[in-house]
Amino acid sequence: MDELTKEFVAESQEGLERMELCLTDLEKRPGDVELVSEIFRTVHTIKGTTGFLRFRRLEKLAHAGEGLLAALRDGKIIATSELIGALLELMDGLRAILHLIETTGIEGARSTDDDRELIALMVDLKAGSAEAAVNGKSAPPMHDVELLALAAGRDASRAALLSAAALAPAPILTATQDRTLRIDVEVLNRMMNQVGELVLTRNQILQSSPDAQNFPELARRLNNVTAELRQSVMQARMQPVGHLFGKFPRMVRDLGRTCGRQVRIEFEGQETGLDKSLLEAVRDPLTHAVRNAVDHGIEPPDVRMLAGKPVEGVVRLRAFHQSGSVVIEVIDDGAGISTEQVLAKALERGLATPEQAASMTQREALQMLFVPGFSTARKVTNISGRGVGLDVVRANVEQVGGSVELESHLESGTTVRMRVPLTLAIVPALVVRSGGQSFALPQNALVELVYMARRDAESQIERIGASELYRLRDSLLPLVWLDRLLDLEQSAGTELQGFYIAVLESEDRRFGLVVDDLKPPEEIVVKSLSAVLREIGLFSGATVLGNGTLALILDVAEAGARAGVRPAVEAVKVVEATAKLEAAGRVGQAQIAMATSVVIYETWKRGFGEDRRGARMAMPLSAVERIESVPIAEIEYAGGRPVLQYGGELLPIEDEDEVLLEMAAANKPGDAGPAATILICLRSGEHASKRVGVVVRRVVGVSPGTLLAATAEVCAEPLAMVKDRVTTLHRDFVGQSAPPALQEVA
């Protein structure tokens, strides 16, 4: 295919995308002349260029469409919904031919590639309305029968098309978008400048020797240029999310008709940028979510009317940046999801036990919807509700390192929230060694790391049948040996002092990966593997490490699946069986229930007299995300209160003990100063999922403890028994420390 044709195809496809938007708008404002002119221009341009490029079939179809549009523009006919339907079909027809040209280079001459019906429809519509205009009410129904027959045929094929489209989103759309990209010339110029800078720096480095005096400076400059260039390229790859939203008005319109709903779609934050590859990755999940919203979310008009809502439902797509990732929400104002129904279904399917169901929070219950094979739709339609719903959405989004959440309020609607990283190309990863090779584990799957000395291994690893488990605080963690999984040469095990367990979680599989050694985490550049190696399935790519060697990137979910780790919900039954075994043994179940782990820290405020300095408090470990050491110069003050910029978020700092003041007083001005220890905690209760930093004097350690019940008579604060000492728990974070069911036991 020559350059000219390529350009024509790309341009026409863009034009058709605009046309699609205009058409759905036109349905709302039938009299808008501007819109009609815009659509006319698109079709006119296609017709003009095809004549020149000699695509006869395309020209014929575009010509017929142009005739109809001219009549519309001149006010001879009005934009009825039938007419708009026909124009949408015209657009699909044009798109299909363009797709043929793009893939095969020719426009198709087979008998199936026939547009006669469509052209006849265009002509009939134009002529029919012209005659109607001339003859007033008595339009001669000469070709009515023919038209009806045509229409019937159309509807059937349309229905087939719709159901097909519902299952697999049209590939036609994605074809060109993968290959062409519009970039701001500004950005391109900046990139060129930075490349120039890179060349200059390279020249200087080549001319100097590693022990030259200015070498550190050169290295720093290289670092800067690389970072800038990387940013520019990322920016160039950023595409507004609006590109993705473009096709939804049409889809919602068509779906609304088939399901008998009145739905309006609204957009917010269309200009939010997202990496091109990710844009493609969220296309399907987003389509799925919108389809769900229309089909299951929005109620039929009569139901809405009875509920006192506007008859027309609203589906809102909202995109925005939040702490290094892009959030896309699909919000509907429909019926919402009934938690009772979800739980009933979960029980029926054996996905949860009655006790679990009773103790589930609303949020946990909604999470059940993501379990494969779960569908609450009472009626299976051909659009959605086949039980291949949200689990697929989640799998797709997690594949690109994102996450999906569901929020629903009965009567007032549902929100599906997808969170995806800004880019896929560069991800933070932990590098591990096993069997003499390096492997990279994406950080987003990593929960925590545990070191185990060889001599403790025998006593701490428990065996049930063939599987090995490690008791990590309150839960049993299945272990997967990386060297065994990959069939690597066995690392000379006895020589090693110990090994590491990387606790990983992906797609609901949680397991400990046993590796020989850890290397410092790196920001790795992800490279794809060739087809032969992709087939192995365990590696999602490879990367070149800082020291120049290669490391394979492990697909965490697949590794878990290969080793036979079950997703959490399925695993419930196994864990129960295990718990029973244990209950029969030395530990009573109630005691397990009450046990919890806490981070013990030192505070001076709570102590009395001489003991003041040694006073301790505890924080439930489940509330602590990280322990950071922050130079006090980095702590800023807003409105007299200390705050910390943390991972793109503004964290309020709690300093009950006034450690910061003391440190600041002892510090000379101009110094970075000593570092304060801050626990980054997740708040529970009404401040749900708000992070807060708690300044402590010193972290003493982590220890298992037992929550004490009914402490109100002794002390207003919650207490725990830790290492045989009564310790005060930080009251703001206790709610989440023990699962609700366990508190009832207490």
Partner: protein, 171 residues
């Protein structure tokens, strides 16, 4: 004018072959089909990959899958590093590496001197070799990179399937 025409015809009849060694054999690949020769490198092994995959090497910002030619010939893997040739795959859209013992000089040979594979060859060699040249010092086997593509090797199924072993609990 006539002179240049004569040279062109002459050029079309010759092949510039890069000679390479694997085990005791001598092989040749046309120089135009070679993108680059990477000096001594040891590819990073990929666990669970088919036996004939030597591993991966970094090459111009991409990850190059490398085929171990010794394994294809049925020879033992060599522990040390070897030479990696970067070859085009499918009309230059992609490339792959070929790990050999060493690379020799470039020789120019007449295209007409290329003889078909001897009929006595076994099926594996038939699938790999593209004919032979009779050289003064012995035979040089002509190789067509398209026959050595990892994807083709995988399809043919002739060369040692992937070493798959299910994950067992035993240590």
């Amino acid at each position: 004018m006539r002179n240049t025409a004569a040279i062109e015809i002459d050029l079309r009849d010759t092949m510039s072959m890069c000679s390479l060694r694997a085990g005791a054999g001598l092989f040749g690949i046309e120089t135009v089909q070679i993108r680059e020769v990477l000096g001594t490198t040891s590819p990073q092994r990929v666990p669970l990959a088919p036996e004939y995959i030597a591993g991966v090497v970094p090459h111009r910002g991409e990850i190059l899958t490398t085929v171990n030619f010794r394994v294809l010939l049925g020879l033992e893997r060599r522990a040390g590093p070897g030479c990696v040739l970067v070859l085009d795959e499918e009309e230059g859209r992609d490339c792959f590496g070929l790990l050999v013992d060493g690379v020799g000089g470039v020789v120019t040979l007449a295209r007409s001197a290329l003889e078909a594979n001897p009929s006595a060859l076994d099926a594996r060699s038939m699938a790999l070799f593209d004919g032979v040249f009779r050289m003064p010092a012995g035979l040089m086997v002509h190789l067509d990179p398209q026959r050595l593509r990892p994807s083709r090797l995988a399809e043919s199924g002739m060369f040692a399937a992937a070493r798959r072993r299910s994950y067992g609990g035993q240590r």
